[in-house]
Structures are given as C-alpha cells and as structure tokens.
C-alpha cells in the first residue's frame, strides 16, 4: 500500500525523535524525576493507514518498522490487555538461529543480527546477553540431528558446531557429563551466537521507539470484528475481499490494512475476515527459581529430557519444556510439569536439588502443521498475518516485523518470509522445522 499523503512508500530510514533520549548522562541529570511516557495513546482516531492487532513484540516491531523504514506512521497498535501480556511476556527470552532448514536458519540469523544491535536502534537497553547455546544430545539419533543442524547452519554461514562431553564440561561446569545419568550426555550442538535477552525490554523498546515516530498504542482495546467488503463469503468476508476497518471495544476505525499479530487468538482474528488458519493452540509452561549467584554461563537445552534452562542476570534459573500435548486455552499449568521439569533438570545438574522453584506460569502457542509461522499477505486484500509462531515467536520478532513491514509497504513478499506464507499449505510446500522445534529453545 502507499501511505496516505506521502505518495510513494520510501525506504528512507527515519530516526525516532524521543522526547528524552536515554543515556547514563541523562540519567544523572534527571535524577529521581520521572521520564516522559514511553507511549502515545489517547483517544482512538477515526482512521489509520494501518491497524496492528496485538500489542506484543511482533505487533510493536511491525509498527516500528512500518514507521522507521517506510514512513508509514499513521498506525495504531491495539491490544485487548496490556503491552506484552501474551507470549512476549511469558517466553523464556532465548534467542538463537541454529535452526534446521536453510529457510529457518537464514530467517533467524537476520533476527539475531537485529537483536544484537537493538539496544542502539531503540535507545533502550534490551540487555542482550550473548552467552552461547547448547543443545544436548543423549542418543545417537539426537546426535545425528545435531550434526544435521550444524551442517545446515555452516552452509548458511551460521556459527554452530557439534562438540563432545569434554568441551561441554568446559563451557558449563555444572553439567554432569559422566556416564552416571540414565541418559548420559553424548554431545551437543554448540551455537555461540545464541543467548538471552530481557524480553519485556524488547516490547517496551519497540513501543517507545514506535511512539516516538508517531505510532499510537491503545491498550485495553479489544478488536471485536474486522470489516471487509467484496469477499466470497457472507458479509463480504472471505477470500477475494478487502479490509475496510475494525470494530473495537472503543469504537469503529477505518483502515485499509489490518495486521494480525496475535497468539492464542490468531485463528479467531482471522475468522473475522472469513479465513481459516491451520492452527491449534497449546499451552507452553515455564518456571523460575529463586536467584542464586551466577553459575550457569550458557543456555542449555535437552530435547530428549524436554527441558531448557538459562540463568538470568538476576540469578534466577528460567526453565521451559515442550508444549502441553492437548490443545486448550487453559493456562493454569500443572503440577506434573514442575515435577518432570525438576527431575530432568536434576538429571542434567544433580547438585541443584536445594534450589527452589519460585513461580510457574504458562502461555499460549499457536502451532502450525510444520512448526513454522504464517506470515505475509492473505487472500483478503489488506489483511496480513504474522501468526502461528508456536514456541519460537519471540526470537523472530525483529525480522518478522521488519520483513512484514516491507511486505505491507511494497506489496511484494520479501525473500526471507516467502517460505512462510499462508499459501504453502495449499501448495504442499511445508517447511520442516518440526524436528528441530519440538523442544527447540
């Protein structure tokens, strides 16, 4: 689409003009006085050039790149709850690019590169901690998959290597690499660029930068319907139609572009334009321990034991596991999750028995048949999707936002997201990340 008023979309990069830039010096000058608000909100306007549904990291990144890379600033991000209240605030904040397919690796590599310089781009320290990422193998089969990933990564130019128990012990001394465990550690895929990041800070950083470029963010604003015309189905919905606006809990808004950046509710939003998405929603549970002094220098993942663990800069261990097997919107979590998790962690690091689990929670994951996202245009003109992110949406947010913004602005599907468009399911062109993503953190 072309942004109203400005003629043709342009790729000239705009810099955010913050009411007050963050820096050490500015901190000292300001002392204990509050800083200006990070958001731009107020009343809903009657029309926008684009409406982004979902105020998580994907929606905010998309809005930011629309504004900064393409000058499309008359944008509203709507969220029925609060900023980053969904998957953005519930994930385990691991970033990496050691995927299995060439398409996946190239895509996440771009994301990781954006993350690496995000603090400077957004003028907010997202505390990216590049600490290396180890995926442990406890069986011949797992080791073979690690090698597969390493070899694909190397071909695409991403730093990954299969290492043995001695090197694993050197990197993470707390791991038991002896023969004693029931499933001894045979090797690992070592991915040095991987790490962790402060996930909430990424949300706030995009929100603040987007606001500084003119984007509005409206929390507690639920999208009730998406208005379309000309579609094949009832009420002008369905393929062949085009978006004309959204109906929200705070009134109607007209817009030619709606971007679905939701998780858990992605298929419900898509249903508002008469589209069905091949998505089922499963909860993914996570937990955190009390803090202890730092002893775990890398992110450790074990697919066979269904666990991943990292230690935050605050000293807490953050754990995750595989998605729950049954499809549900219930986020109550379970006791068996905590029990299994603890058992598996202690198999990896038997000395941690006295650490205490402080809190557990869960989030919703929209799973697609091939464990890859659905991103890009749809058969409804003006309705774009950035959904189906399963368990790996957080690490993809920068590149998804950047590429989708380009897609919306130019009408062309960029090469990096071309493998992930909705039409692949009809074309039988699935992307095989299922094997790598089962516990792929």
């Amino acid at each position: 689409m072309a942004p109203s008023g400005s003629g043709v979309a342009q790729a000239a990069r705009r810099r955010a003009r913050y009411p007050a830039r963050y820096s050490a010096l500015a901190l000292l000058r300001r002392g204990k006085r509050p800083w200006p608000p990070i958001l731009r909100g107020g009343e809903l306007a009657s029309s926008y050039d684009a409406v982004v549904v979902g105020g998580g990291v994907h929606g905010l990144a998309t809005a930011y790149y629309l504004a900064s890379n393409w000058g499309i600033t008359n944008v509203a991000v709507l969220d029925k709850g609060y900023l980053g209240g969904g998957g953005s605030g519930r994930n385990t904040a691991i970033v990496r690019s050691n995927y299995l397919t060439p398409e996946g690796v190239a895509f996440y590599d771009r994301s990781l590169r954006l993350y690496e310089r995000l603090a400077l781009d957004l003028n907010l320290n997202v505390m990216f901690s590049r600490r290396g990422h180890l995926t442990l193998a406890h069986s011949d089969g797992a080791l073979r998959t690690m090698r597969w990933r390493a070899e694909v990564n190397k071909q695409v130019g991403v730093d990954s290597e299969v290492i043995g128990p001695g090197e694993i012990k050197r990197l993470v001394p707390a791991l038991d690499v002896s023969e004693a465990p029931r499933y001894p550690i045979l090797g690992a895929l070592h991915h040095p660029p991987g790490g962790i990041i402060r996930h909430d800070a990424v949300v706030w950083g995009y929100a603040r930068a987007a606001a500084a470029l003119g984007v509005e963010t409206h929390q507690s604003t639920e999208v009730l319907d998406v208005a379309t015309s000309g579609g094949d189905g009832p009420d002008g919905k369905g393929p062949g139609g085009r978006v004309t606006g959204v109906r929200t809990s705070r009134g109607d808004v007209s817009t030619p572009v709606v971007v679905n950046c939701t998780a858990g509710w992605a298929s419900l939003i898509a249903a508002m334009v008469g589209l069905r998405l091949p998505i089922s929603t499963h909860p993914l549970q996570a937990a955190v321990t009390e803090p202890v002094k730092l002893f775990l220098p890398a992110v450790v993942v074990s697919g066979s034991l269904h666990v991943y663990v990292s230690q935050t800069d605050r000293g807490e261990l953050v754990f995750g596991a595989a998605v729950d097997p049954l499809a549900t919107y219930d986020t109550a979590g379970s006791l068996s999750f905590a029990e299994d998790l603890a058992g598996h962690v202690l198999q990896l690091m038997p000395g941690l028995g006295r650490m205490r689990l402080l809190r557990q929670w869960s989030g919703l994951c929209d799973m697609t048949p091939d464990y890859s996202p659905i991103i890009g245009p749809t058969p409804v003109d003006g309705f774009h999707c950035d959904v189906g992110w399963g368990t790996y949406g957080f690490k993809a947010a920068p590149v998804a936002g950047e590429q989708l913004a380009a897609c919306i602005a130019t009408g062309e599907v960029p090469e990096l997201i071309a493998p992930f468009t909705l039409d692949r399911f009809a074309a039988g062109r699935l992307v095989g990340e299922k094997g790598a993503a089962a516990v792929g953190h």
Partner: protein, 962 residues
C-alpha cells in the same frame, strides 16, 4: 552486639536446657533448641541480617517468619534459607548472602552514592554505548545478582513423594482452620491439616495465656477427631479437582517431601499476612511489623529493642505495645486511628535513632513497630478461580463472594474470610468443617459411581449441602498504605514508592506493567507483603481506585518448593530382554536404545556381518514392539492404520505395512502376521512401540469405540530372535519337528506356530530385514534364554554366532531398508520413501488417505511440489564413509551453493567392500547415475553417485526368498 534474651517467659518455645552452638559469618554464637536462626541471632544482639539487592542497604528483621524478605541466609551449601523460619540446629554454619566484604562494611553500599540515578529500571536506560563494552557492564551487573550460592557439586539427597486421598484438606492451622479440621473429622471425614509454621495455633501462639490455652484446646480436639496434622508444611499449589501439592519441608527430620493429595474438599484457612507501611526509612534495621515484634518477644523471649514507638491501626498493634511493655521495653504508642502517621525513621548507619511523625514530632527510639493492616493470602483460592475483591472499608482484599467454586469443593474460613472474635472464627471454622465433610461425602459418592466397576455403590447420591454458614463480619480499618514520604514497597527487590510513581508516569500505568518494569512483587515472598502496597501506590499515582487497579495473578507455588522434592526419586526405567545376562556373558558392547539396553556388537561387527552372509547368525530383537490384535473388527483396524490392504491376507501369512499420520508423514513400519481369522500379531519399530500403541488406542477410543477388537501390548511377553543367514533353515530344522520348514511349505512372508527347542507356541515368521533367508522367532519370554542357548549349541558346526545391532544396521543398509526416524523425518511422506507401490488409494479409508491422494494424484488443486526423495548413494571413493547428516549441495544462483539433500544413513559394507549410503535428495536430482556433491563435516567436498535401487546388495531378493 549485646544479648537481648529475656528471662524465661510463659509460652516461649525455646528449650533453655538445650543450648545449640552455631556460627554466623564464621563467628561462634549460641541459641536454644526451638530458636529460629533469626531469633537466635536477634537474641545474640544481631540487628543487620542482609544487604538489599540493589542499593546494598542494611536490613533487619521485618516479620520474623517465613516471608521475611530481609533474613534470607546461606546455611552450608543451601542458599536462600528463610532465617525467620528455619529452626536452629547444632553446628549450623549460617552466613549473610548479599554482603561484601562484610555485612557491616559493605563495599557495594557505594551504589547508594550513585543512587541518585539508580531508580527502578535504570539499567534499561544506560550501558548502551559503546556497544563493545556491554559484556563488561553485564559482568558488573551480574555481581549484583541477589541470592545465595549453589554448589553444583553438592551431593544429591533422596526425596520421596507421598500420595494422599483425604476427604478434606485444611490449609492453615490457626483457630478457624483447627476448628474446621476438628469439625470435619468429627463428621467422619478423613482430614489433613497443613500448617505453615512449626506448630499449630496461628496467632494464638503469641497471644497470651488465654490464646495459648485456646490453641491447645483446639489442637487437642482436632487430634481427637483423627485429623492428620502436618506442620512446617504448605499447600503450595491447587489444580483442577483439588489436586494439591503439599510441601512438607522437614518430613520426619528428613529432606523436603512433596505430598500429592487429591482432596475432595479444600478449606483455605490461611489467615492474614501483616502489611508493611511505606514511609521514608521504613527499611531501616529496627523497623518491624507488629507480628514480628510479638513473635520475637513471646515465642523466643527476645527483646526486639529497648525504646520503641508502636504505630498501631488495630488491635494487633495495641497488643504488640502491651507485649513490648511487658518485656521491659519503653513504649510510645502512636495511634493511627487518630490520624497520626509515621513519616520517617531516621538514624545513623545501621541503627534507628528516631521516628518522625506527621505532626512533626520526633521520638527517640531504637525500635519502630508498625501495625498498618493486613493482606489476605488468597493465592490458593485464586488458583481455584476465585478473584480477590477489594473492600475499602476493611482496607484489604477478600475472596470474591461466594468464595466457593468447582461445585463447592473449595471453601474458606478464618481471617481470609472476615473479622470477628475468637469465638466467631471458631464457630465459622466449625461450620465450614461440617460443610466440607458433607460435601466431601457427596463428591465421594460421585467418584464411586464413576468407578462403579471397582466397587458397588450403595444408595442415592447425598445432596450437595448448600452453604448456610453465617458469614464473618468485616471490621472497619484505616486505609494505610503509604505515608506522605516515600519508602520501600518491595524490600527484596529494592523498589520504592517513588519508583512506582515514576514508572506510572513513564507509561507503566497498569499493575502488570509496573510489576515487570520495576520487578516489584517478584521477590522471595512473591508479593505477599508487597502487592497491596504496590497497587495502592499505583492507584494513587494514576488517580484510580485500588479496585480498578486490581492485583496481578497469583501463581503457584504458594511457598517455594525445592527441585529435589519436586523431582522425587529419579524414575527412569531400564529395559532389558530376557537374554540380557547371556549377552553380558558373551561380551556384548551395550548401547542405549530408548529405554532398552541392547548389544551393539559382541566384538567385531564387520565379522558378524560376514558370518551372517556366509553362515548363520542370531540376533535378539526383543525390543521390537509387538501387539496382539484380536476380534472380528481386527482387519478393519489394520486397514485403517496401514497404507496397504489386509482383507485378502491369508491366515498363515505376514505382510509388511507402513503407517502414516493424517498428514501423510510416515509414522512407523513393521510386519504383521495373521495367526487366525480374527487374530493378528503386529510388530512395530522398537523406538515406535509406545507411540503406536497410543496411536491405535486413540483411534479406537475416539473414532471407533464400537469396533470389536482388543489390542494387547505383548512386547515383553515374547523374546524375539531373528535367525538369519543361508544356513538358518538347516539350524532351525534341528530344533523344530512340528513345522515343515521346507521352502515349498514355509514360504517367504509366511507365519507358522510351532515348537522350537521343545518350547511350544512359538510364533515364527519368514522375513528378511537383513536380506538373508531368515526366520524371526517369538518365544514365550520365560523360555527365551533356553531357545537362544539351544540355537547356539545346535549350530556349532554351521558357524552360528550372535550378532548385534550394528551388524543388523549394516545389513539393512546393504539391503536398502530405511529406518523410520533416521532415513525419514517429520516431513517425509510415504512417496518420498518410494512407497507408492504400498499405497492403495482405492481403499475405502486409511490414515493419511486424503493427503497421499493429493500427493500422488494432484487432487484437489494440483499436485504439491515433491520435495525430497530417498535414494541409495555410493561415494566415488569407496573408502570414504560420509558422516550421517552430511549435507548434499548443488550449484545455486550466482556461484553460490544450495543444499539439496542430506545423507541419512551411511556405513562401510564388508559385503561389498565399499561405503554405502541412503540419502534424501530434492526430487529433481535423484535419477540413477546422478552425480552429487557431499560436504563432509570438515568442509571437504566428495563426489557420490545416485544408485538405481535402494538395495546395494542383492536387489532381486534371491537370497531371502531362497
């Protein structure tokens, strides 16, 4: 440090005849049995117990209980021990966690100098430039991580778990909880009472002689009613249908234990938690809550100060003032109900010296006790779907009416539900206990009906008793949260009221956002002390009410649980076949294959291959999944599961089958034999055995519950032995007399039942995974070792020898048989593996039919792009064996390389004396003779050729059909 222990007092819980010596930061001290770490230290005159997380401010006792954020200590190799709760033990080595070089002189207090800039979230606003310095900044920040030290090398302890099925669980052993437990017990219910502290009684324990008498009377009544009382235990979580996690911190003096209880009714009687008051200097050592002061004085006979100001808004504060006076402390009473408030606690360094009041007066004091109000710990109720609801008159949250959920299986009583006299609480507790017992009886009846197959059910269901309890009242309480000055809201996270207001001004104006930005309520007490003050400050800052702001979600666990207790004893079963001891005796090299331990080889796998090809070998294939399928609809089931047809399979024949999921992706493969008209024995892959059983049950139970078919897993009921090689028939003939093994009578792909080595009812089928003439014997497992030994003994002259998994893998690769999960992956559909011949699209239905029809016929909407094809590949260099998972590349656009496939299996073939592979390659490339480029792990390129047939060896199959 001057000693503060008072003379013996009535009600004290210490045993002065049993002194215990311990160390604090290396210094030798002593306390008494019954002391907590904190009470012993306080008795020794200690006033500073920790340094705060961000500003390293000195911190003293706040609550003197489990939730005290200021008294987490390291004990030996155990971090984050609740010093206010953990009982003192002889020779305990306790130390402060967050101080360097010492608690008294903490170098990081310097951060307080820079504190001007250190508001909540400051780190998000700095350390960005230069980018290369961030890792260094990060290391420095990490030094400020709070918490104790974990030693990853410390020895694991053994934790057991317990399962319980009580009728009623009462969470909280205060007066209402005790009364509820006793009443439920008297009504005939099996009751478990879970008390967080080391003794039941709740606040009655430090509430004077009459309180103590009432407590012991109530406890006695509960015991007499048969209530199981757990102390030092917490109901940590509550899930659907009252599935409870109860953590027993020192079960019988042992390590922490997790009790998993399925209660019919849960009664939450968690009492109230006292709320700190926010004002300047409220985190200064010497400022404590009224319950902390009372506990110190009355339970442990510790004088918390010598000159006190008691700021009181309620009866508990007034009682604290009286208690302190009785303990010889000079007390100045400041009554909050008159409108006077505290505005500052001032002093030098680590000591409180004076208290400033709102009227400007300054009172000399070394102790300031506040009683500003209560927080209802509604977590367990929230986990049952009950929302907390703010009552401005009582100035606290209550469980939303009616306070019950899930068919009335969750009730509350005591302080969490309302206010009243002791008698009122006891009476409400008793009514709650009776209600709980009655409802438990109804729910028990329902459970028995639901499991009527186990025991007959007598009589009709008792009606679910309505809740006719007289509700507890609510007392008016001043709304005291934050004074006119700023102070600490979250002690463990060092978050002040100013931080919260600034956060709101910066746009973090909802409780969830402010929590994440400032980390308020995310510390050790998980908001039990902090949430309401956070909400109150935020409400004021945003001009809304406390109700409008609401609370964050309470998440399990209520109190933290050790990983050891959650894990319990490791339960990772090891599976071995009945032949395991024989393999060990034969010198096997073991390999882990899923849960199984199997012989990888017995010394020389290449020789084992040669022996099978030349003579005869036997391999233990017991881990093969085996399912006995019987019933008139058994054939329908097989037709549904497999791609190929089963109706015409003759009794006495076996057939190879492949299963796909609905998406057409290969799920499993194996051979199934028809033993009778309605009787099949199905074999699955070893690794897929469990999943296939679940898969079948899923179809039977959800889609075809009407089918008359029974599927029984019999993997372990049989020892499975494959006898393979040109001399296998000769060998078997020597041990069999009731089965005609001649090639005419027992053809390839047939099954017979007969006697082997004297063992009747053996199932044998003629198949050939190795590509040789071979018979697979399924022997009743108890006779496995006998048959194995007999085979070896009878074939000495034939050259019989055992062979392991590795030799089998080599031979199957020579033969070009794929392994599901190795040569196929999560996207491999049947056509990719070359299975078109097996797929019968004219069958009425089978799993994966629509997807495979589309893949093969292109209906509807045109055929999908065929992505990959499984092919046999031989490297040009016969000595080069490419590692499995090596990539296959082709020239891409602009001189680049593009991945077009990968090696899925590779071995050196002793039969062909060259390297052989299976590979998945893009469908455009796999014609016979195509030259491929394989990239070695080292990066070197090797040439390889696509073969015409999957089988590298004997593609015509003459050997196995012979």
């Amino acid at each position: 440090m001057s000693p503060q222990r008072l003379p013996a007092r009535p009600g004290e819980v210490i045993d002065r005849r049993r002194p215990l010596s311990f160390t604090w930061n290396g210094r030798a001290l002593s306390g008494f049995a019954g002391d907590t770490i904190v009470s012993a230290l306080a008795a020794s005159g200690c006033r500073v117990f920790s340094r705060s997380m961000k500003y390293h401010r000195p911190r003293g006792i706040l609550t003197a209980d489990y939730w005290d954020p200021n008294t987490l200590v390291q004990v030996g190799d155990e971090p984050n021990v609740r010093g206010g709760h953990r009982l003192l033990e002889a020779h305990m080595a306790a130390s402060a966690q967050n101080a360097w070089p010492s608690l008294r002189w903490d170098a990081k207090t310097l951060t307080a100098l820079g504190g001007r800039a250190l508001s909540a979230g400051f780190y998000y606003k700095t350390f960005m430039r230069p980018r290369w310095l961030w890792p260094t900044y990060e290391k420095v920040l990490a030094r400020f991580a709070p918490g104790g030290v974990i030693d990853p090398e410390s020895a694991p302890r053994r934790h057991d778990k317990r399962y319980a099925h009580p009728d009623v669980v009462v969470a909280g052993g205060g007066p209402a909880g005790l009364a509820a437990a006793a009443a439920a017990g008297q009504a005939g219910a099996a009751v478990m009472l879970v008390e967080h502290e080391h003794a039941v009684g709740g606040h009655l324990r430090w509430d004077g002689a009459s309180g103590r008498a009432a407590a012991s009377e109530l406890a006695e009544a509960a015991r007499a009613a048969g209530v199981e009382i757990l102390t030092d235990a917490t109901v940590a979580g509550r899930w659907e249908d009252n599935w409870l996690a109860i953590v027993e911190r020192a079960a019988g003096g042992g390590p922490e234990r997790l009790i998993k209880a399925r209660a019919k009714v849960l009664v939450v009687a968690a009492g109230l938690i006292e709320r700190p008051y926010v004002f300047a200097g409220n985190d200064r050592p010497g400022v404590m809550l009224s319950q902390g002061a009372r506990r110190l004085a009355n339970l442990w006979a510790v004088r918390p100060g010598s000159r006190a100001v008691v700021f009181s808004a309620n009866a508990a504060g007034d009682a604290a003032a009286a208690d302190l006076e009785a303990a010889g402390v000079a007390v100045e009473h400041v009554d909050a109900r008159t409108g006077r408030t505290v505005t500052a606690a001032e002093g030098r360094r680590n000591a409180l010296e004076r208290v400033v009041l709102s009227d400007g007066s300054r009172l000399e004091a070394d102790l300031l006790v506040t009683a500003a109000g209560w927080t209802a710990p509604t977590s367990l109720l929230n986990m049952a779907g009950v929302r907390p609801c703010y009552d401005p008159t009582a100035a606290r949250f209550f469980p939303a009416e009616p306070g019950v959920s899930e068919a009335g299986a969750v009730l509350s009583t005591g302080g969490i539900s309302g206010d009243g006299t002791l008698e009122a609480h006891v009476s409400h507790g008793e009514a709650t206990g009776r209600l709980a017992a009655a409802r438990a009886a109804t729910l028990a009846h329902r459970l028995r009906v639901a499991t009527a197959w186990a025991a007959p059910v007598n009589g009709p269901e008792p009606p679910l008793v309505p809740d006719e309890r007289t509700p507890l009242g609510r007392h008016r309480h001043p709304a005291l949260f934050c004074s006119s000055t700023d102070g600490m809201v979250d002690f463990s996270e060092d978050v002040s009221s100013r931080d919260l207001r600034n956060a709101a001004a910066e746009g973090f104006d909802s409780v969830e956002l402010v929590k994440r930005w400032t980390t308020a309520t995310m510390g050790s007490a998980q908001g039990k002390l902090e949430t309401v003050n956070t909400v109150a400050v935020l409400a004021e800052a945003t001009g809304s009410t406390i109700s409008e702001v609401g609370t964050t979600t309470w998440r399990p666990p209520f109190a933290p649980v050790t990983l050891g207790a959650l894990a319990g004893r490791p339960f990772e079963p090891v599976r071995v076949s009945s032949l395991h001891d024989l393999h060990v005796a034969a010198g096997m090299a073991p390999i882990s294959a899923g849960q199984w331990i199997r012989p990888e080889h017995y010394g020389e796998p290449q020789a084992e291959v040669r022996n099978v090809r030349a003579n005869v070998g036997i391999i233990d294939v017991s881990p093969l999944g085996k399912l006995d399928i019987q019933g008139p609809d058994a054939t329908d089931l097989l037709s549904l599961l497999y791609l190929n047809k089963w109706r015409r399979l003759a009794v006495g024949s076996v057939r190879y089958g492949v299963m796909c999921a609905e998406d057409g992706v290969i799920l499993d493969d194996g051979v199934t034999g028809r033993l009778g008209e309605d009787h099949y024995l199905m074999s699955t892959t070893s690794s897929g055995a469990g999943a296939v059983e679940v898969w079948i049950q899923n179809w039977l139970q959800t889609e075809h519950p009407d089918w008359r078919v029974r599927v029984t897993p019999v993997t372990d009921a049989f020892t499975s032995i494959n006898v393979a090689g040109p001399r296998s028939r000769t060998l078997l003939e020597r041990l069999t007399d009731d089965v005609d093994l001649s090639p005419e009578a027992f053809k390839y792909m047939q099954v017979r039942r007969g006697t082997v080595a004297g063992v009747a009812s053996c199932v044998m089928w003629r198949i050939g995974f190795t590509g040789e003439l071979s018979y697979e014997l399924h022997v009743p497992a108890g006779h496995g070792p006998h048959v194995w030994s007999a085979l070896l003994a009878a074939g000495g002259d034939l050259g019989v020898a055992p062979f392991g998994l590795e030799a089998q893998r080599v031979m199957r690769l020579e033969k070009g048989h794929f392994i599901v999960g190795q040569d196929t992956d999560a996207l491999t559909k049947a056509p990719t593996a070359g299975l078109e011949w097996l797929i019968k699209l004219d069958k009425e239905d089978f799993c994966g039919l629509p997807e495979l029809r589309w893949a093969l016929d292109g209906e509807p909407g045109g055929a999908p792009e065929a992505l990959q094809r499984l092919v046999a590949v031989q490297p040009t260099d016969p000595a080069y064996v490419p590692p499995e998972a090596c990539q296959i590349v082709a020239a891409g656009p602009g001189g680049t390389e593009r991945i077009i496939g990968r090696i899925t299996s590779s071995r050196y073939s002793p039969t062909l004396e060259r390297s052989i592979c299976l590979a998945q390659v893009e469908a455009d490339h796999p014609g016979a003779g195509t030259q491929l480029t394989v990239v070695d792990v080292s990066g070197r390129r090797h040439r390889a050729t696509v073969m015409a047939d999957h089988a590298h060896f004997d593609p015509e199959g003459g050997r196995l059909r012979g």
